[in-house]
């Protein structure tokens, strides 16, 4: 399988670059990367799902807003997400289905807390294959 994402070194925080055959897939892989930083996703099921819809000024902002919405859902509803389907992605709108499982403290060891996705080093690239990049505040 093609590489879904890689971690970008940063002194205080953690960045990721995610790839896909199209932008929808790259976005989905960025969300996958976010939850991979937090937990071993092999231990997480996908029986629960949420539809997440975001509007923003542009695609870069959509990416940050979407990831932050997932962090919010993780904190408020205690859901770990592992599978993402971006059904619609325009310049200003994103519709997704996100599958995961409620945290089970006995099975899920949280490796790191992510405070937020930031706008620093933010990139959404469509040329030469789709690639997105985002830095998380840890």
């Amino acid at each position: 399988m093609a590489k879904r994402f890689e971690v970008i070194e940063h002194t205080a925080d953690v960045g990721i670059a995610a790839y896909g055959s199209d932008l929808k897939e790259a976005f989905a892989n960025a969300a996958y990367a976010l939850f991979s930083l937090m937990v071993d996703l092999k231990q997480v099921g996908d029986t629960l799902y949420r539809e997440v819809e975001i509007t923003a000024e542009n695609q870069e902002d959509l990416l940050v807003a979407w990831l932050n919405e997932l962090i919010y859902l993780f904190e408020v509803e205690s859901i770990l997400f592992k599978r993402f389907r971006v059904d619609e992605l325009t310049e200003t709108r994103l519709k997704s289905r996100c599958y995961g499982q409620a945290i089970d403290p006995l099975r899920h060891k949280i490796k790191v807390g992510v405070k937020a996705a930031t706008y620093h080093m933010l990139k959404v690239e469509k040329d030469n294959g789709s690639r997105v990049q985002v830095l998380f505040d840890i």
Binding site: E9, A12, V112, Y119
Partner: protein, 485 residues
């Protein structure tokens, strides 16, 4: 990440300037507090570029400042201080950061290390049990929206009124634990939903509780005024912030300000510097929300203090009075404050952004608690978990040179993944145990990420702040027991 190749002009042994001509758009020069060996580390990534970028903020005065613990952040560097004019300058949520009012609280005891050492395992376990920690940890308090709004307005005072702590605690908390100017209506429902279950929790990352032992006293008279009497005395340090509520407030307003930047015709070198005029509606709303988050953080540290005291009482079998477990001080290190300073002979109202920087007011300043009127405001500098922490005191020089600010900690030199590659959590725990430090952590990988090797030596950081005169060393403490999320 590429090395920074710009020019740093030496002002003196501890101050280095980035000229205003370094890049287009800078409104003032940059100024980094560091000694020569530290500069090498600082140049290894784009930290100085971030200092220069902050210098582009509309209304910034004097310098874009970097404290000696500076390291690479997102937008603003961590360890940065930026003063902008209230009249025509901007306020930036990124200049405070996601963990609004992340800060440090230090308590003293009448206990000596010999009394605590035999019980340290039990004490650390009890602290770990009674104070929820870890990612997304939820507390014992359940607050409805109405009660949250009270916390956002009253801060630590809310906690004391509910029986968590004593009125005296408030006297020795920055802003008395209740910063004025908050408006809960400016805080989103999402932020309140995140904050509701998390009040009274430590969180994860670099947040910790530490039982410490005084190792050295540099200024006995000043230390004594703070209740630090002798080497071997036991202290308790609490390091945490505003949890998910603060993160959400920052995220909400970075988004708002992103749009405001265009509306006000502000051009910025980095989107994470998003800002709006202090006097604009967006600026006022952010400040009112930030104040609420800051108050939440003070309430959080106040609740934790109460449970920590209960833990000491249970394990040591003594009353609070016998323990002498009293607060030395509580100080924010991620916050924006409206303060007045003399700049080029003029008295100016300024918005002081401190992001990873500590307020350091001198003796006699009206905001310094009465009991410290003659010594100045205590400045609390936690090191990393394997090494030592410092107590400093504010100076007049800080008022003249650094907008009443100094460093806040050690400052990272190694990325989290690099730390994890080179160290294993279990080895870190063993290494700490060999040095007589008991650790209880929710996650082994967080232990490796926060290992000493990933940080600058806090002693070197404090030495620069001391020699540059922006604060004075008072005492040093080493850890005995650590609780981490």
């Amino acid at each position: 990440m590429a090395r920074w190749e710009g020019t740093l002009k030496k002002i003196d042994d501890y101050r280095w300037e980035i000229s205003q001509s370094y890049k287009a758009g800078m409104r003032v020069p940059g100024l980094i507090y560091a000694d020569e060996p530290m500069l090498e580390h600082i140049r290894e990534d784009q930290t100085p570029e971030q200092v220069a970028n902050v210098a582009c903020l509309p209304g910034i005065v004097s310098h874009s400042l970097a404290m000696p613990d500076i390291h690479w952040g997102y937008g603003f560097p961590i360890g940065g201080v930026a003063a902008t004019r209230v009249e025509d300058g901007v306020i930036s949520p990124g200049g405070v950061g996601y963990d609004i009012n992340c800060g440090v609280r230090l308590l003293r005891t009448d206990l000596m290390v010999e009394e605590v050492s035999p019980k340290i395992e039990e004490l650390v376990s009890e602290l770990y049990r009674s104070i929820p920690s870890g990612v997304g940890s939820q507390g014992k308090l359940r607050l409805d929206q109405k009660e949250i709004d009270k916390v956002l307005l009253k801060g630590a005072r809310w906690a004391v009124e509910k029986g968590y702590g004593e009125a005296r605690d408030l006297e020795v908390t920055e802003a008395n634990g209740t910063m004025p100017g908050g408006d809960p209506q400016c805080v989103s429902t999402k932020a309140k939903q995140r904050g509701g279950p998390q009040l009274g929790t430590l969180g994860a990352g670099n947040h910790f509780l530490e039982v410490q032992v005084v190792e050295e006293i540099y200024e006995p008279a000043i230390a004594s005024a703070m209740g630090i009497e002798r080497v071997g005395q036991v202290l308790l340090l609490i390091h945490t912030g505003s949890r998910g509520l603060g993160h959400q407030v920052c995220d909400d307003y970075v988004r708002t300000m992103g749009a405001a930047v265009q509306r006000y015709g502000i051009s910025l070198p980095d989107r994470q510097l998003a800002c709006a005029p202090v006097k604009s509606q967006e600026g006022k709303d952010y400040f009112a929300a930030m104040v609420c988050a800051a108050n939440y953080a003070w309430a959080n540290r106040q609740c934790i203090t109460h449970w920590a005291r209960e833990s000491f009482i249970r394990v040591l079998g003594r009353s609070l009075r016998q323990l002498g477990l009293e607060m030395i001080y509580d100080v924010a290190h991620n916050i924006a404050k409206m303060e007045e300073y003399q700049v080029d002979g003029k008295r100016l109202s300024l918005c002081i952004h401190r992001k990873g920087a500590t307020r350091a007011f001198p003796a006699g300043h009206p905001e310094v608690p009465e009991i410290y009127a003659e010594i100045g405001q205590p400045v609390l500098i936690p090191g990393d978990m394997g090494r030592y922490s410092y107590v400093l005191v504010g100076t007049e020089r800080a008022m003249e040179d650094s907008f009443g600010s100094t460093c806040h900690g050690a400052g990272r030199v190694q990325s989290r993944s690099a730390a994890k590659r080179s160290l294993r959590g279990a080895d870190v725990a063993r290494g700490l145990a060999q040095r007589g430090i008991t650790v209880k952590a929710g996650s082994m990988s967080s232990l490796a990420e926060e290992a000493s090797e990933a940080y600058k030596d806090v002693a070197a950081v404090v030495e620069v702040a001391h020699r540059a005169g922006i604060s004075r060393k008072v005492a040093k403490a080493r850890p005995l027991g650590v609780v981490k999320g």
